[in-house]
């Protein structure tokens, strides 16, 4: 039977303590993140009263993400054109290429891939910026100047991200459809009339486009909240900021994929 001393020093006890500490920290962090999210919503007045602040952040998060979003959208659409044609022609249904490209992009690939790109391009930048502002005491300085950093720095970035995300997803889908058209119609020779008319008749505004927009808004909320929280909570050191930036990309990418499944499950019509 182990003595008290053995138990005090045992690896088993330390690992249980370690597990308990980690669990407590994780729960505490989730609670802090929830309070942070509520605080951002409550302090959003400035972001709308002084909309110039939000517009400025939309330039950094949205406009500067345009290149990567547009180029990626074009290539994804071109690949869809090639792969779709390959499969559809087996069944003699190559005229339906327009439907395949448009529905894949508007329902899934547009919001999801644009969100993943947004997380790595804009999300990481937001975390690094806020983290460094904290590490260099800029946020403390702002507090000491009687200006609330949540209202002045965090909320405009949050709304800029939430507004930019659906616009970027729409542009991604538009470029993708153009890429599919280039490959399918111009390169392979699918009938142009059939490509556009079948797309027009098959894509439903409410079920396809609106659901895609809802997805991208939800992704925008998730990514910007994670990015802002990680930056705000980052330890004020070089390793702290780099770790927070990595966590932003990993966590928000996983969140986007998980949320996509949940949202798709709610929007699914196949069983009706």
């Amino acid at each position: 039977m182990p003595t008290t001393c053995d138990w005090e020093n045992s690896v088993f006890k330390r690992s249980i303590e370690n597990l308990g500490n980690r669990t407590l920290q994780a729960v505490w962090r989730i609670g802090f993140a929830a309070r942070f999210f509520v605080a951002v919503l409550l302090h959003s007045g400035t972001a709308f009263r002084r909309f110039g602040l939000t517009i400025r952040e939309m330039y950094f998060t949205g406009v500067l993400s345009l290149i990567i979003i547009l180029v990626s959208g074009l290539f994804v659409g071109m690949v869809l054109g090639l792969q779709g044609y390959e499969t559809l022609q087996t069944y003699g249904a190559e005229d339906a290429l327009g439907i395949l490209v448009a529905l894949s992009l508007v329902r899934e690939l547009g919001p999801v891939v644009a969100a993943l790109l947004f997380a790595s391009r804009a999300g990481s930048a937001i975390t690094a910026e806020i983290g460094l502002m904290k590490a260099t005491e800029q946020l403390s300085a702002m507090e000491m100047m009687a200006v609330d950093p949540i209202a002045r720095v965090v909320a405009p970035r949050f709304w800029a991200g939430v507004i930019s995300m659906p616009l970027l997803a729409a542009l991604f889908s538009a470029m993708g459809i153009f890429g599919g058209y280039l490959v399918g119609v111009q390169l392979i020779g699918v009938d142009e009339g059939a490509f556009w008319s079948q797309m027009k008749s098959a894509v439903d505004f409410e079920q396809d486009i609106l659901n895609g927009v809802i997805k991208s808004v939800v992704f925008g909320v998730a990514i910007t909240t994670i990015a802002l929280f990680e930056g705000y909570d980052a330890p004020p050191t070089a390793e702290g900021v780099s770790g927070a930036t990595t966590r932003t990309v990993v966590t928000s990418s996983l969140a986007v994929l998980a949320l996509d499944f949940i949202l798709t499950a709610f929007m699914f019509r196949g069983l009706n």
């Binding site: 005491e137 800029q138 403390s140 300085a141 702002m142 507090e143 000491m144 100047m145 009687a146 609330d148």
Partner: protein
């Protein structure tokens, strides 16, 4: 509360988690004076400033600024009080995404409805006071350490505060910038009629400009007095600090087991 005292700290205790930092500090800052808070690194000097600014709340005791108990104020009251305070952070903490001009104009734009013409004149006057009117359009990354500190000082006095707190204003400066910064603190305090609290461990520079000095060690005030009294003090801690001696009440060595034991002298090595 004495009317002449702008800041009064009474029996303040504070700790981070289980680690006590301040163990019953009493301190007052009279209006119009430059007060230095000195002590070795990590003794709780910056914590004191954060308690006065309301960024931290004391565990015990009371911090009063202009008669108001800082720890008991809500956010609105605290922000109203902070508009009358300026703080100079250790490395300036300038906003790096906007110019020197916009940094100094920040509070004026946030807290007043002044037209842009008036803001421009005020900003240039503040920058002129710290000798950097010509640097108004530079970005913070283009400034030297001393210049950044002076811009931060101009920003701290933008709203004509009654109290300015300086966190290590002399750290990492060359001798010229050191003298310039010291003189600026003294001159601005006298001409603007404000009260300055300087947290520092630069003894020689601060003894030249301050009216009164508090020494903090291990969470308590161990000595206080005017510059002349501090120079003449024979308290071992103050003597070691003022004369920069390596060993004394503050030991050179971090606590460790006996040296001979660590080197395993007198024991057979395996």
């Amino acid at each position: 509360m004495h009317n002449d005292n702008l800041v009064e700290i009474e029996d303040v205790e504070f700790g981070y988690g289980d680690r006590p930092v301040l163990k019953g500090v009493n301190l007052t800052a009279r209006r119009g004076q430059v007060i230095a808070i000195m002590g070795s690194s990590g003794c709780g000097k910056t914590t004191l400033l954060r308690l006065i600014g309301g960024q931290l709340k004391p565990g015990q005791g009371r911090v009063r600024v202009a008669g108001q108990s800082v720890g008991e104020l809500g956010q609105a009251g605290l922000y109203r009080l902070r508009r009358k305070m300026g703080m100079l952070f250790q490395f300036g903490a300038l906003f790096t995404d906007i110019s020197v001009f916009d940094n100094v104009a920040f509070q004026l734009r946030e807290h007043t409805d002044l037209p842009e013409d008036a803001i421009r004149d005020l900003v240039l006057m503040k920058l002129h006071a710290v000798g950097l009117r010509g640097a108004a359009q530079l970005m913070p990354a283009e400034l030297s350490g001393g210049m950044a500190r002076r811009v931060a000082l101009a920003r701290a006095i933008a709203l004509d505060p009654m109290l300015v707190m300086y966190d290590e204003p002399f750290a990492g400066l060359d001798p010229i910038s050191l003298g310039v910064t010291g003189n600026l603190i003294r001159r601005l305090t006298d001409t603007l009629g404000l009260t300055s609290l300087v947290v520092t461990h630069d003894v020689q520079e601060s003894l030249k400009i301050v009216d009164y000095i508090y020494f903090v060690s291990e969470g308590v005030i161990v000595a206080e007095g005017t510059a002349a009294e501090i120079r003449a003090s024979d308290l071992p801690y103050v003597h070691q600090f003022v004369h920069g001696e390596a060993d004394g009440p503050v030991p050179f060595h971090y606590p460790a087991p006996p040296y001979a034991d660590d080197l395993r002298l007198g024991k057979q090595r395996v």
